[in-house]
């Protein structure tokens, strides 16, 4: 029975090819656009997760602050081997753990200066770092040598330096004493989005020397999990476990560590406090990009949905007007009102489903072509999109959601005209002229 209904609905659609092609085309275009927008957002999020979790955050981080006086906080974890041991006990699913020294300093060259967030890295312990960094000058392995620095292209340009050139870095220790270090540019790497505009890398030992830190002190322990999606749950578990082990743990605050200085310095405590964050917390300052893109997609989707609803309602209203006598005849030979309603709804949902599937296929195809074309993102946009080449990541679930969602809207839009058709009296409908 359903197949017969489906056949009737399909034939009715085919009978008005031009009109339905036009409407179906619009629905397909909307679907394709949404698939592409969703893919772009997913691509940015994916690039963020991939590059940022290697450059500046783990999936979960054991960071913290040490305050000698209540007004001077430094991003430090003292006795980090013990903290790591405790973390491993609480989180057996840790795949990899690395220690990063955190700092902030003024980097001065002969021709310029800039403030940079400094990350002290042990290159041997982080082989995946080399996967993300693409060196354009110098040698990344040189970063293992003391008093070297890795800069990104824009930083090197602003400072007017090349690999091998000398720089001076000036910063204050946790006790507030000024210190400097003379560094050599080990390598210059290609920019990686907004992160590379303010982050530079130094050997952990050199950064420790600049800040006069013990070898057991670090900025944060980056923990990498098999499943990054579980970071929030792992962070909550770690917070409880470390507190139970006697560490003073800060309340959750979903912000990057360098955004917390003002708050931490205004609090009346001294000594060590541990701060557990997830990669999403550390990159929260970038979330506006994703929020903005999602907002734009949402706005676009809403506007397009309104157009679809009006289009469907209008098209079906015309169809019903054209087919009034047909409806009258069907009703006269015994077709129930419910059946008429059902047939019109089926017609609309068939149109919606066919169009959205076609649109989704087109969207997936265009996304694949864009990925294949390896399109370079303009430098000004790279900063926000966190990628140098456009990557559109289309997932199965979002596509399924778009297809089902838009089909449902199309069907719902047909509800009123279909109801109107079903309410027609047979005698009036048969005598309808027009």
């Amino acid at each position: 029975m359903f197949l017969t209904d489906l056949q009737i609905a399909g034939r009715n659609l085919a009978k008005h090819t031009k009109r339905n092609l036009f409407l179906g085309g619009a629905i397909a275009a909307v679907t394709a656009l949404l698939v592409l927008m969703g893919g772009l957002t997913a691509g940015i999020e994916g690039a963020m997760l991939e590059s940022a979790t290697i450059l500046m955050t783990g999936h979960v981080n054991v960071g913290g602050f040490f305050k000698i006086t209540s007004g001077t906080g430094a991003p430090l974890v003292n006795d980090f081997p013990k903290a790591l041991e405790d973390a491993r006990k609480a989180v057996p699913e840790i795949e990899l753990a690395t220690a990063r020294v955190r700092g902030y300093g003024k980097v001065v060259s002969d021709t310029g200066s800039m403030d940079l967030v400094l990350s002290g890295i042990d290159l041997q312990a982080e082989p995946m770092f080399q996967k993300v960094i693409r060196v354009t000058q110098g040698n990344l392995d040189d970063l293992a040598q003391p008093n070297t620095i890795l800069l990104f292209e824009d930083q090197a340009k602003r400072l007017g330096v090349r690999s091998g050139d000398a720089l001076t870095i000036s910063s204050a220790t946790a006790r507030g004493a000024n210190n400097t270090a003379d560094l050599r540019v080990a390598a210059v790497a290609k920019n990686i989005g907004i992160l590379s505009s303010f982050t530079a890398f130094m050997p952990a030992a050199s950064l420790r020397e600049l800040y006069q830190l013990k070898t057991t002190a670090t900025g944060a322990i980056h923990l990498y999990l098999k499943d990054p999606e579980r970071s929030a749950e792992v962070a909550a578990r770690l917070r409880t476990a470390l507190a139970a082990d006697g560490w003073r743990v800060m309340d959750p605050d979903p912000q990057a560590y360098f955004m917390k200085f003002q708050r931490v310095n205004s609090e009346d405590w001294t000594g060590q406090k541990i701060d557990i964050t997830t990669w999403k917390d550390e990159l929260s300052f970038l979330s506006w990009i994703l929020t903005g893109l999602n907002g734009l997609t949402g706005l676009l989707a809403s506007v397009l949905m309104v157009i679809i609803v009006i289009g469907i309602a209008n098209t079906l209203a015309i169809a019903i007007r054209e087919r009034t006598r047909e409806i009258g005849t069907l009703r006269a030979i015994g077709m129930q009102r419910r059946k008429v309603l059902w047939l019109f709804l089926l017609e609309a949902s068939l149109l919606g489903l066919a169009s959205t599937v076609a649109g989704a296929a087109a969207g997936i195809g265009i996304a694949a072509l864009l990925n294949l074309a390896h399109l370079a993102v303009p430098e000004s946009v790279q900063m926000f999109l966190m990628q140098q080449h456009l990557t559109v990541t289309v997932g199965f679930r979002p596509v399924l959601n778009y297809v089902l969602g838009i089909s449902a809207v199309t069907t719902l839009a047909a509800l009123y005209p279909a109801y109107h058709a079903a309410r027609l009296r047979p005698i009036t409908a048969i005598h309808h002229i027009g």
Binding site: T69, G71, K106, T168, A172, A177, T180
Partner: protein
């Protein structure tokens, strides 16, 4: 005969030099004198002009009032100009330096080694001199600095004392004990800032029952970013007692409105 004279001279030179050298006690006395000459036991109010020159930026001239109550180490700066900075202020309460921005209406705790207004000026440049208290001193040489005969003294921070510059080299006028030149070094030993004090003035302090010397002009040269420099002029010193409840956040906020 000539040979004997030369030999005698060669023998006498180290002796002459050691006669000119300051003993540790004398060196400490020189440093204590610097502090003592600038010490004021009562209240202090001064109008200061601060001109900051930075590379690739336009020069900025700040005008501010400095309030001090040296007895209990209280200190307050209130910016009067330029318009964008007017109303901002610093207040030291106990060991904490607070910064107030009327734009946001918020107080932020800052380090005592804070660069005042983002310039090369530090809180210590405008505060009471506590060199003998914070540093150990060593005489290095006596030498001519322009037309002045100066003692060159090296100061190294005492253990467990927190200062912005762990090493300072001073050129102190042998006659007046005024600091003429000052070099401040980082922990690494690198020279970070050179300061010159070309003009001193004295005022009579009722609370001290004596004269206070203060540098009327200070010039700071950034040795890391060579193009950056700051000039400070201290004007209109007033040593009359300030209102008792002045060094409070509420007072500074009321003046910022």
């Amino acid at each position: 005969m000539k040979k004997i004279t030369l030999l005698l001279l060669a023998l006498a030179l180290p002796a002459l030099r050691s006669a000119a050298a300051l003993s540790p006690a004398e060196t400490l006395q020189v440093v204590k004198t610097i502090d003592e000459r600038q010490r004021n036991s009562g209240d202090w109010k001064a109008l200061a002009y601060m001109e900051a020159k930075e590379k690739d930026k336009s020069d900025v001239v700040y005008e501010m009032t400095i309030f001090r109550r040296d007895q209990d180490k209280k200190l307050m700066f209130l910016f009067l100009a330029p318009k964008s900075e007017a109303g901002k202020g610093y207040l030291r309460l106990d060991q904490n330096l607070w910064f107030y921005d009327p734009g946001t209406g918020r107080w932020e705790r800052r380090t005592e080694r804070e660069r005042i207004g983002g310039t090369d000026t530090r809180r210590g440049d405008l505060d009471e001199s506590r060199l003998a208290q914070e540093y150990d001193c060593t005489w290095e040489a006596d030498e001519k600095l322009g037309k002045f005969e100066a003692h060159r003294i090296l100061l190294k921070v005492k253990p467990d004392v927190d200062v912005a510059f762990p090493m300072i080299r001073l050129w102190v006028d042998g006659t007046t004990s005024n600091v003429l030149k000052r070099q401040e070094m980082a922990l690494s030993g690198r020279l970070m800032r050179t300061s010159y004090y070309p003009r001193y003035k004295k005022v009579y302090s009722e609370s001290k029952k004596g004269e206070i010397w203060y540098p009327e002009e200070m010039r700071f040269y950034d040795e890391i970013e060579k193009a950056n420099q700051t000039l400070i002029l201290i004007k209109e010193i007033d040593l009359r007692p300030l209102p008792a409840n002045m060094f409070t956040k509420a007072w500074l906020e009321s003046k910022s409105r």
